[in-house]
């Protein structure tokens, strides 16, 4: 089963449960009905905003911690020179 199908099935189940609870077809056992009716309509927006803030944080942190490696660049340039000299002595055309 592809990932798309798995995700679709799980989200359909969760969305159906959510809609049933929202339209008061299913009761929530321990929560007062008034409180539930205030919280439930907001849940999708809360999920969206939470995902948005997580994404933003993740991107910002990722860019902040992205390492530069100038030493690797200089080491590579040195090695290229060394390689060229060695290869010329072995009868290989370089550059």
């Amino acid at each position: 089963m592809a990932r798309l199908h798995r995700v679709s099935i799980y989200s359909s189940i969760l969305i159906s449960i959510y809609l049933l609870v929202l339209f008061e077809v299913l009761p929530i056992p321990l929560l007062d009905a008034n409180v539930a009716q205030e919280i439930l309509p907001v849940i999708p927006w809360w999920l969206l905003v939470s995902f948005g803030s997580y994404s933003l944080w993740s991107l910002g942190w990722g860019v902040f911690t992205f390492r530069d490696c100038p030493e690797a660049y200089h080491e590579l340039l040195r090695e290229i020179n060394e390689a060229k000299n060695d290869l010329r002595s072995r009868a290989v055309t370089v550059d």
Binding site: A2, L59, C69, P70, Y73, A83, K84, V92, T93
Partner: protein, 256 residues
């Protein structure tokens, strides 16, 4: 017995190098690879799959074969520019090693990391080891791993890279930190199996191989690598590539 060294590592490592117009870079990358393999006393071979380069890449490859040995440098040319995936398939037909390393020939991947890949693979009996530019430690733990990084990317490029990775990680949950990386060590039968299943082309091909490998249950480890991008010239990323990437991620989401 594959190697002539008195070492505990008796595996043979094949490197498949697809080339197109790499006459300048090829000798140096071969020199670096040979140096690393000889220093660590590993049995090796390099298979150069050249797509009919007009600049004389094949002539240089023949000279290198003469310098290093015809059994070590194998030139397996093709008639035209046929793409990366088929280049690997073509190269796999000539592999006599039991592990395959794939990498770029333009110095963005440095062969000095190969011994770390091998050590990690042996320590945990992994099927695949991939290089990651985004981590500073390896998974599973390897004491000699140095932090990864990139040279030659400005802030915008870094942001695009992180964004692309975040998108792929959220949609596909691949379990590796660098999904588009193409510096990898594979067990030969694992690579053969995965490559027959992969359908995409371009860099989405590399992503698909990793995602399929994970879906099939192969074990994957990561080693941080330093990536020196475009040592001669600037790195460019166009809008077309971004759209193509998003399409590739969506296709993988649908098919794996």
């Amino acid at each position: 017995m594959q190697g002539q060294y008195n070492t505990p590592n008796t595996h043979k490592y094949s490197v498949i190098l697809p080339t197109y117009n790499e006459r300048k870079n090829l000798p140096i990358i071969i020199w670096l690879l040979a140096k690393v393999f000889e220093e660590h006393q590993l049995s090796w071979e390099i298979i150069i799959v050249d797509d009919a380069s007009p600049d004389g890449t094949q002539e240089v490859a023949i000279e290198l074969a003469r310098a290093y040995g015809e059994d070590k440098i194998l030139l397996k040319p093709r008639a035209g520019k046929l793409g990366l995936g088929t280049a690997y398939i073509h190269g796999l037909d000539f592999c006599t090693g039991d592990f395959v390393i794939i990498m770029d020939a333009d110095f963005s991947h440095h062969p000095k990391f190969i011994p770390q890949f091998i050590r990690l693979q042996q320590a945990h009996n992994l099927d695949i080891v991939t290089g990651t530019r985004y981590r500073s430690t390896s998974t599973p733990y390897l004491a000699e791993a140095q932090p990864g990084g990139v040279h030659g990317w400005d802030l915008k490029r870094k942001l695009v890279s992180r964004g692309a990775n975040f998108l792929a990680a959220t949609v596909l949950n691949p379990g590796v930190s660098d999904l588009t990386g193409s510096f990898r060590l594979y067990r030969l039968p694992v690579l053969r199996h995965i490559i027959t299943l992969t359908q995409s082309r371009g860099y989405v091909f590399q992503m698909e191989m990793m995602v399929r490998a994970r879906a099939l249950g192969y074990t994957v480890g990561e080693v941080p690598i330093t990536f020196v991008d475009r040592i001669f010239g600037e790195s460019k990323l166009g809008a077309d590539e971004v759209v193509g990437y998003a399409k590739g991620v969506w296709q993988l989401f649908q098919s794996v």
